[in-house]
């Protein structure tokens, strides 16, 4: 019996992988329920982080209180981030809301290079070199995007690259209603 098991093990393993591949075929980046939704955004942990830029010292996290703003978790090593980056650039050009970047476990030089190459949509960027803030925010992986309301509550979270559809159909209406 064990001989059969041994001989069949590779097949079994393949079937498991095939099952995941099949499931993967009709997958889309989807909204993930986050325990943070409707809870206070852990901003203090962001405030404690070093800033990637020094140009915007004028803006601090306390300035964001009372505003609707976006937190975008990214890293220059992340391919999904490259996909959503042009969309963030466009969103930033509209000056709709401040976008705060959380450079996650990324070398500062590479973050800089990324922003100078692809454009910088961020009002400010903080560096989470150890990944501690990401844990606090419950980040699965990059990219992730959080929407925070005027009362500093997390109202929305998107896991994976943003798409035009998600921005237009989910983010914009929510931003509009939160701004009122």
């Amino acid at each position: 019996m064990s001989r059969w098991l041994k001989a069949g093990l590779p097949l079994l393993f393949f079937l498991v992988i095939a099952w995941f591949l099949l499931k993967g075929l009709d997958r889309n980046p989807r909204e993930i329920p986050s325990p943070l939704i409707n809870r206070a955004a852990p901003v203090a942990v962001l405030e404690a982080l070093p800033r990637l830029d020094d140009r915007a010292q004028a803006i601090a996290f306390k300035d964001l209180i009372g505003q609707v703003w976006l937190l975008n978790v990214w890293g220059s090593w992340c391919s999904g981030c490259q996909i959503e980056h042009p969309l963030l650039n466009r969103l930033a050009a509209e000056k709709l809301i401040p976008i705060v970047g959380l450079a996650w476990k990324d070398a500062p030089a590479q973050s800089h290079e990324w922003l100078s190459r692809l454009g910088d949509p961020y009002t400010m960027v903080v560096m989470d070199l150890q990944g501690k803030a990401a844990i606090e925010w419950g980040v699965y992986g990059a990219p992730e995007t959080f929407l925070i309301d005027k009362n500093n509550k997390v109202r929305y979270k998107h896991v994976g690259p943003l798409s035009l559809e998600i921005i237009d159909k989910e983010l914009r209406p929510l931003i509009a209603s939160l701004k009122q």
Binding site: P10, K23, G24, G141
Partner: protein, 665 residues
């Protein structure tokens, strides 16, 4: 009309593929030599027809037939000639046709060069290749017809993605596919072997040269891809652990295990299950790579436009080929077993460790590649797994592999006494240790233990090669005679060259990771930037330049050493007209000692945010991999594989004839 001709040729080629799969199998079953012999013309005609289809596609690209969907979306009137040729495989459909062409070429080559095989084995192997090709024909004809017309035809095409407009595009995909598809031969031999229940050393000897050549091509293909990404993507990295890079790397890892495992199967008759499984695995991973690139389940810079129907088709095909062959393995594994005893320290054990390390490394890469997909399937979020994971798991796995790489070729089959082996290797170890500990002291930067460890491994592997060469030069009387090396067979030379290539690769990786310098600065005309003592860079001028299908802004930098201009670099920003995409073209000054690499970021008031990188010894990475690839070719060219009419029954496991000059007729 050429498109229709190509389409017809492809359909006819599929008929040949069906004949190739059916008639030889029937022939084996009914013991009809004439039916088995039909494999040869079927394989030749198949190649001829696929070649015709492929030439038709290239003709459409060269002559700008924008009524073909593929040409309209991947070419343009201004696209230079060679990129038009390369554009024919720059799309999903075209690359599928390239894949089919490669498969037909390997099949025909096998048909031409397998006259010495027993008739039934030959028929079975070719039939398996024919059966595999049917799946690809169906895929191309039903879901990805490259000859699809578009009405009305556009006046001009949308152009090839500018990233692909590079000499790399001309060579990288064909080389890579030669490797990928080449593993189909080892796969076909494994399946035929399972059916016949035959895995003796003669079987291993038939498979070895084919596997070595496929593996060599795959090495070169990956190397070229890495080299291309280095200069084209503009950030100076040479490996990104991108899902599709991983997809080409996984079959390379199992292929590496396979060529070593085959050595044991040939020389000692052991590791048969390993060999069969690795042969199946290598080709399966090639197919998995195809699936990953074309189904859109993962995000990657390489991914083709996605289409779920294609994904479903390839997944079905994957299940039939991989699931079928693994089921066959499960059913027939008992017939594979055969074992000769060997002790804990022997060449067998070392090669077994190599097999295990390579397969574990493959699984680590597979896990990292599929992890986002697995999490997503379990509704746990969509993530990217980045280099931190891969570096963390990969390096510890490769260290023991590198250590054993030097020991393996010097150890003996069955049993190697520890002490004499350690004695033989003590000078190599002492020398590499001294170099590794002292060399980092000569650098200006801090002493990093990882640098010393990397150097130790590089020189240790090189030391192993040197020891092997030295011992083979010694005459029985103790004198050293260089000419004795010529007595060594091709497989010995190939192995040593490949191992030396690994040493060069490790050396390059270690030095570039330890000592690269990166400066990012805004530079304007006239600025001088000091890179290091006595070496500085001057922003000489900005010029505009017209390319064939792009306009470029070029910045000329002068490299100044001790007040003298010693060279210049010309990084560019290009705007491709048809697609309106901006590309960064790095300026690189290359040398064996290292590169100076400049890329332009954003333009800011009269100057550029410029990224300057000094990359010591970076070229050794690719020189090393080229040596690895040619090592595979050299080993495949071993004279004993070229002997015709070997009586397979007489071939003994310990084939002592591995000496050049004994090419018997």
């Amino acid at each position: 009309m050429t498109a229709e001709l190509g389409h017809l040729a492809l359909a006819l080629a599929m008929l040949c593929g069906i004949c190739l799969a059916v008639f030889p199998s029937l022939g084996v079953w009914r013991r009809d030599a004439r039916l088995m012999a039909m494999a040869t013309p079927a394989a030749y005609w198949q190649l001829l027809l696929v070649l015709l289809a492929f030439v038709c596609l290239i003709e459409n690209f060269i002559n700008h037939d924008f009524s073909i969907q593929l040409v309209a979306s991947h070419s343009n009137r201004d696209l230079p000639f060679w990129y038009r040729v390369a554009a024919s495989w720059g799309s999903h459909e075209g690359s599928m046709l390239l894949w089919i062409l490669m498969l037909a070429a390997w099949t025909a080559a096998l048909a031409a060069l397998s006259g010495h095989l027993p008739q039934a084995m030959r028929a079975r192997v070719l039939a398996v290749l024919g059966a595999v090709s049917i799946g690809f024909y169906l895929f191309a004809l039903l879901t990805s017809n490259p000859f699809e017309r578009v009405v009305p035809a556009p006046i001009n095409g949308r152009d090839l993605n500018p990233l692909l407009q590079d000499p790399g595009m001309v060579f990288h995909p064909p080389l890579l596919y030669m490797g990928y598809v080449g593993f189909s031969v080892a796969f076909a031999f494994a399946i035929a072997g399972l059916i016949e229940g035959r895995f003796d050393s003669a079987w291993a000897r038939w498979v070895r040269p084919w596997t070595n050549v496929a593996w060599g091509f795959l090495s070169l293909g990956i190397c070229l891809g890495s080299f291309w990404a280095y200069y084209e993507l503009g950030w100076g990295g040479w490996w990104f652990w991108d899902p599709v890079e991983n997809a080409s790397f996984m079959p390379w890892l199992t292929g590496t295990a396979l060529i070593h495992s085959l050595a044991v199967t040939e020389k000692r008759g052991n590791f048969r299950s390993w060999t069969v499984l690795l042969a199946i695995l290598s080709f399966s991973l090639s197919l998995l790579g195809t699936f990953l690139v074309r189904s859109g389940v993962l995000t990657s810079v390489h991914a083709f436009a996605t289409d779920p129907t294609r994904g479903v088709f390839i997944l079905m095909f994957l299940c039939i080929v991989i699931g079928g062959s693994l089921s066959l393995y499960a059913a027939r594994a008992h017939s594979v077993q055969a074992s000769q005893a060997y002790s804990l320290l022997s060449r067998e054990s070392i090669l077994l460790a190599n097999n295990i390390l390579m397969v574990v490394a493959m699984f680590a890469v597979l896990l990292g590649t599929l992890y986002p997909l697995i999490l997503d399937s379990l509704d746990m979020g969509k993530i990217s797994v980045g280099p931190p994971y891969f570096d963390a798991v990969f390096v510890p796995l490769m260290l023991p592999a590198l250590f054993l790489m030097a020991v393996g070729p010097l150890s003996r089959w069955r049993d190697t006494p520890v002490l004499p082996l350690a004695q033989r290797m003590r000078w190599a170890f002492a020398a590499s240790l001294v170099i590794a500990l002292l060399l980092p002291l000569t650098a200006d930067s801090d002493y990093k233990p990882m640098t010393a460890l990397g150097l130790l491994m590089a020189f240790w592997v090189a030391g192993g090669v040197a020891m092997a060469a030295f011992e083979n030069m010694k005459t029985p009387s103790g004198a050293v005679d260089l000419s004795r090396l010529a007595l060594q067979p091709g497989s010995w030379w190939g192995m040593q060259l490949a191992h030396l290539g690994v040493a060069a690769f490790v050396l390059g990786v270690t030095l570039v990771n330890s000592y690269e310098i990166e400066i990012e600065k805004k530079l304007s005309p006239g600025d001088v930037l000091k890179i290091e003592e006595g070496l500085s860079l001057r922003y000489a001028e900005t010029t505009a330049r017209q390319g064939p299908n792009y306009e470029a802004i070029q910045v000329r930098f002068e490299l100044i050493r001790d007040q003298k201009v010693v060279g210049e670099l010309r990084p560019e920003k290009r705007r491709y007209k048809a697609s309106n995409m901006v590309m960064t073209e790095a300026g690189i000054k290359r040398s064996v000692l290292g590169d100076l690499y400049i890329s332009l970021g954003e333009a800011v008031d009269g100057g550029w945010v410029t990224r300057i990188q000094k990359k010591p010894a970076v070229n050794w990475i690719w020189i090393g991999v080229v040596m690895i690839g040619f090592g595979g070719f050299w080993a495949a060219a071993d004279a004993r594989y070229r002997r015709r009419r070997v009586n397979s029954l007489r071939a003994s496991p310990s084939d002592a004839s591995s000496k050049i000059g004994k090419v018997s007729g």
